[in-house]
């Protein structure tokens, strides 16, 4: 990203969304997973939307990771992602697939995974 001295982005966050403050998809969470659908970007796509789409070229990103990469607040990325999803250029999924949402073993998997970090085989 093009940055100004002092690390601030060239385009302020409130301009990156074209003045839109509310996402069209309010259910996008910090950890919602965004991916590109692979559809070609139409000409005239706003630069900030294009930047997010570019960031998804190499793989999936969570909303918060996209925000960190693009140096935008999470709230702005929610708006941009909502617009890309509305245009079928991107898709999102919830942090935990519905099938796993009430998995009582999820916490155990987290604990086992953390223990494995401590004692790598």
């Amino acid at each position: 990203m093009t940055g100004r001295r002092g690390g601030r982005p060239l385009v302020p966050a409130y301009l990156s969304t074209g003045g839109v403050a509310r996402p069209s998809r309010p259910q996008l969470e910090r950890l919602s997973v965004l991916r590109s659908t692979g559809a070609p970007a139409p000409t005239g796509l706003p630069a900030a939307q294009l930047a997010l789409l570019d960031a998804l070229d190499d793989g999936s990103l969570t909303v918060v990771e996209a925000a960190a990469l693009l140096r935008l607040p999470v709230s702005a990325v929610r708006v941009l992602a909502g617009e890309l999803i509305d245009r079928d250029l991107a898709a999102s999924r919830a942090p935990i697939p519905t099938a796993d949402r009430f998995d009582p073993d999820l916490l155990k998997r987290v604990a086992d995974g953390l223990r494995a970090l401590k004692h790598p085989r």
Partner: protein, 214 residues
């Protein structure tokens, strides 16, 4: 002026880090690492994260403006706070995110947004200034998040407090885990996280549940 107390301002290298999710990522869960400024949240996240900790700059809502203590700066339009986070890919498709969460009351709206869907919170406490953690404990308890307390072991921290004294000072419930950790050390930080996750598992077991309804 941006208000970025817990990270390095002007850090421009983040864009070169590949943070794309591994294809195996399935269940994305998060734990808050909460505590006052300077308690070691970013240090702990950095010791266990597989990516260099990233951060987002989050605007602080106008509702907090009257409480904003930037003395002499009147009519200040925007304030931002840096929120650090890290990631650990665990076997079995679980990806654990750690969010460093500032504990001041004026960050409540941001807090609620970050806490949404979190498994729980690891509250870091500096035993040299326990009272700095009162705000964050209040926020955690009000949000209903289960939590564990970890004392970050600073070298010059007083060691004459007993566990009972520390519990009393923090007004902790008997069942709330309390551990000591060294946020600079990966294994020690993992142990603190494990204390929290084990607490979450214990809460889940049937004997600790209330009567089943429905």
């Amino acid at each position: 002026m941006a208000f970025a107390p817990s990270s390095t301002p002007g850090d421009t290298a983040t864009a070169t880090v590949d943070v794309h999710l591994p294809d195996t990522a399935r269940d994305l869960v998060k734990i808050l690492v909460a505590g006052p400024f300077g308690v070691g949240k970013t240090t702990l996240i950095g010791s266990v994260s597989e990516i260099r900790p990233l951060h987002t700059e989050e605007p602080i809502s106008e509702a907090s403006a009257p409480l904003d203590d930037l003395a002499g700066v009147r009519d200040k339009a925007t304030t931002t706070v840096a929120v650090d986070f890290g990631r650990i890919s665990l076997p079995g498709g679980v990806v654990l995110y750690l969010f460093g969460t500032p504990g001041q009351e004026r960050f409540r709206a941001l807090w609620d947004d970050i806490a949404y869907g979190a498994l729980g919170a690891l509250v870091l406490v500096d035993s040299r200034r326990i009272d700095a953690s009162f705000d964050v404990l209040g926020l955690v308890e009000e949000s209903g998040l289960p939590y564990a307390v970890a004392f970050n072991a600073f070298p010059d921290a007083p060691r004459h407090h007993t566990e009972a004294q520390l519990r009393a000072a923090l007004d902790l419930e008997a069942g709330t885990p309390m551990v000591t950790c060294d946020a600079r050390d990966a294994d020690s930080s993992v142990d603190a996280l494990l204390a929290l996750v084990q607490h979450l598992i214990d809460r889940q077991t049937p004997e600790n549940r209330g009567p089943v309804t429905g």
